[in-house]
Symmetry: C2
DNA sequence: TGGTTTCCATACCGATCGGTATATAGATTA
DNA sequence: TAATCTATATACCGATCGGTATGGAAACCA
């Protein structure tokens, strides 16, 4: 069985393609799968709906991605890589306020722009997937913890640079900022208008500590 | 078929109980069902798990509650009545800051105290139930809208009383407060510690506008 | 070309899904 | 006690769940 990981050999060059080549684009299929998981959640997405959206048959899916759980993980990887790119640029902002601005505006444009489903895959995965393998839950939580650490470190640097008042800790400000962004995504998925979401971002920035 | 609504007649007195009386306590069974929906979500909760937790058989469940969707709605009613009682007392706080304090502390004690599942049923319902009848989604959203309006009205009164600065609108502050609370519940359901959640509440109150 | 390798379409697997028909057990009314 | 009404227990329903066995079809290497 060939999985997505086998497409490149150790040296990074395309593996010797023997036999009939795959008839579909893995990236495209995975994008379609991500979209289904995004709108339906893990349990709500059936293999029938997934295969139809991906334009492939079940044997092809299982040969290429393993099983439903593995497919979900790969889709989550794609999500993180494609849709959460603004996280890295946000952390490079020159000030703590700039970090918050880029985070919030990044989340905002993702929620009101494009034709992507509303809501955040991280929130969906954490809230909606209480039934299946703990491995996924733990992985989602581990990713969140890693991104949290990066934000905490950035805010500690900001404090050292006199960029944040003394009475707020980096940890507290991080969980606060993440909470607002999670709330933003919840409200977006429950049908809040772009104007309401924009108001939410503006209010958060207005209340942001420091000049 | 007798449903939960038929237990009281129009005058509010117990209906004439003819035939064999029900062998289980409706309230207790509904509490158990709520707990299952709360931890598993709508789709993740199977009728088998529900009946086992409720201690009744499937025919009893269907005779008493109708079907899975109706059972979920009744459980949601119970949740709102029992677990969201702090909402009403919060709105009666003398100042806008007091309202925020009672809201946040109410949500906090619900998340860190007792043996209830983590997370908020409203968030779970909104995020995790994208597959089934729109009627439920619309009802959840309608309830949220109604509670939002109450908070907006309370904050407009606060503005009229000079209790809030002019540069914040009641609508924006409402969606902001709700966002923080939604974020709080998301973080609680992903395993945040009580200390972290408490920090989040304190930070929010520290940044709250006005004296 | 032949042989090999792999992909894909169909059809199917047991398990579980939400929901129900039937028959028995139990309580009330008369 | 007899008649009546309803709850419960068992067993079952068709549909769908995630996942696979099998048999061509298609592309590569020689």
């Amino acid at each position: 069985m060939e999985t997505i990981d086998d497409q490149l050999d150790i040296a990074g060059t395309p593996a010797a393609a023997r036999g009939r080549p795959r008839q579909f684009c893995v990236e495209t299929a995975l994008t379609a799968a991500l979209r289904v998981f995004w709108t339906r959640g893990y349990e709500g997405a059936s293999m029938a709906e997934l295969t139809e959206a991906m334009g492939i048959t079940k044997p092809s899916l299982y040969a290429c991605f393993g099983n439903k759980e593995a497919l979900f993980c790969k889709a989550l990887d794609l999500y993180e890589r494609d849709k959460l790119a603004y996280v890295h640029t946000a952390l490079e902002a020159p000030t703590a306020r700039g970090v918050a601005e880029r985070f919030l505006h990044g989340a905002l444009t993702m929620q009101i722009g494009g034709d992507d489903p509303r809501g955040c895959m991280g929130v969906i995965s954490a809230v909606a997937c209480t039934n299946f393998a703990d491995s996924i839950r733990e992985e989602v939580m581990a990713r969140r913890a890693s991104s949290d650490r990066a934000i905490v470190a950035r805010f500690e640097r900001a404090k050292a640079e006199g960029d944040l008042p003394d009475h707020v800790t980096a940890e507290a400000l991080t969980s606060y900022l993440c909470a607002v962004m999670q709330g933003l995504s919840v409200q977006a998925s429950t049908g809040a208008s772009p104007e309401e979401l924009e108001q939410l971002v503006q209010t958060t920035l207005m209340l942001w500590p420091g000049r």
